[in-house]
Symmetry: C2
Subunit: 211 residues, 2 copies
Amino acid sequence: MNSLEATARAQEPQSPDVTELILQDILAGRLPPGTWLKQIDLERRYNCTRPEVRRALDRLVQKRLVEHVPNRGYHVHEQDGRRAQEVSDIRVILEVAVSDRIIANASAADIANLRVFALRFDDLVLNGTMLELYEANLVFHRHLLALAGNQELVELITEIRQRTSSAPVSQWRTRARIEQSGREHQQMVDAIERRDVGHLMELTRRHILQA
Amino acid sequence: MNSLEATARAQEPQSPDVTELILQDILAGRLPPGTWLKQIDLERRYNCTRPEVRRALDRLVQKRLVEHVPNRGYHVHEQDGRRAQEVSDIRVILEVAVSDRIIANASAADIANLRVFALRFDDLVLNGTMLELYEANLVFHRHLLALAGNQELVELITEIRQRTSSAPVSQWRTRARIEQSGREHQQMVDAIERRDVGHLMELTRRHILQA
DNA sequence: GGTAATCAAATTGGCGCCAATTTATGATCC
DNA sequence: GGATCATAAATTGGCGCCAATTTGATTACC
């Protein structure tokens, strides 16, 4: 009956940040869209106090990951197809637009770094959890974007990615698709090394839209 | 000594939302960058309770408008030149990129609407406060962007605009610059009516960068 | 037997108190 | 006379209690 209790983990001595913990669980799919987040359950699950839970819930509402119904409670935001589409749309515009800057700024060391992150993703396809994979993917894209020389852009895209993908696990449906993503990462780094702006733009566009 | 007490307003019977009130005061320049936001002062100023103040402060920290120093307090975020530059940069990329969609979707009624909002801005240049002007400008740009058919994009740009401009008043330094902005609004609507994508893109770019 | 109203259990959410930390003040010592 | 240390005031921030609202169940009624 109570899905929260069922997934309860071993009590950790000190909680780093409750907001982050709940966020991780939503992203990992352990708290599926629609789940009601009762304060008492969260209190016990993360071994924290009532005000901490409330602050975390309020922050997640601000992030649009959780919905609040007055006097009813908080529940994980339902996946919105339109919104996901629109966010992808925004990502394509931004990331394609800065392709030339990425290529202009990328040093040999930067390219080597990107290869490391791309390889790490490929490695986790075989030996890793979905959440690890998701985060490795995020790291690769963050470092790629950082080369554009606009820190705000990196933060912004990181934010809107979380905003929609309530259960990022469901994004990559098949293993074939995941492996394809890994190959595309490699191809993007290749394009950067060849200083081929046009190809990087096209790769980026396809990579985001089919994710 | 206490700038908050000095600006204290008449007590309103019921506070709609404290977060919004503080936000307005920061945007209006009544709480300049660097100001320390003591909880007791805010409590009295907005005639609300301690937890309400704390929730509002936490939300404003999430919005990056207020900075939090543990065990020291909260203060209005200092204007960051680099960040403002980066946000303008992002705006240019996005708004220029959707110029074609705006023109494709704009009906005669939409164009008439935009003219109304542009005229309202011009009117407030003469008979209006800085805050009213700021909001009229926001309304024009929101409706313009809405024509691109991407609701998330509208919300996103509204968010990042607030995020940087701690004191939007200081954005338009001279009256000449404000009047120029008004003329540019008109020119943008003209370009839409003429279905001149290239011109709208160039106007948009210049309008944002010199703001 | 089904439906509606009433009552009890549970949950949300507002509010204030008190401890911990920091800052300002004043006294003492060099 | 200036600097340093100790003390007191002020501010932050954690925590729990209790009222208001809602949900679910039991009972009475049609």
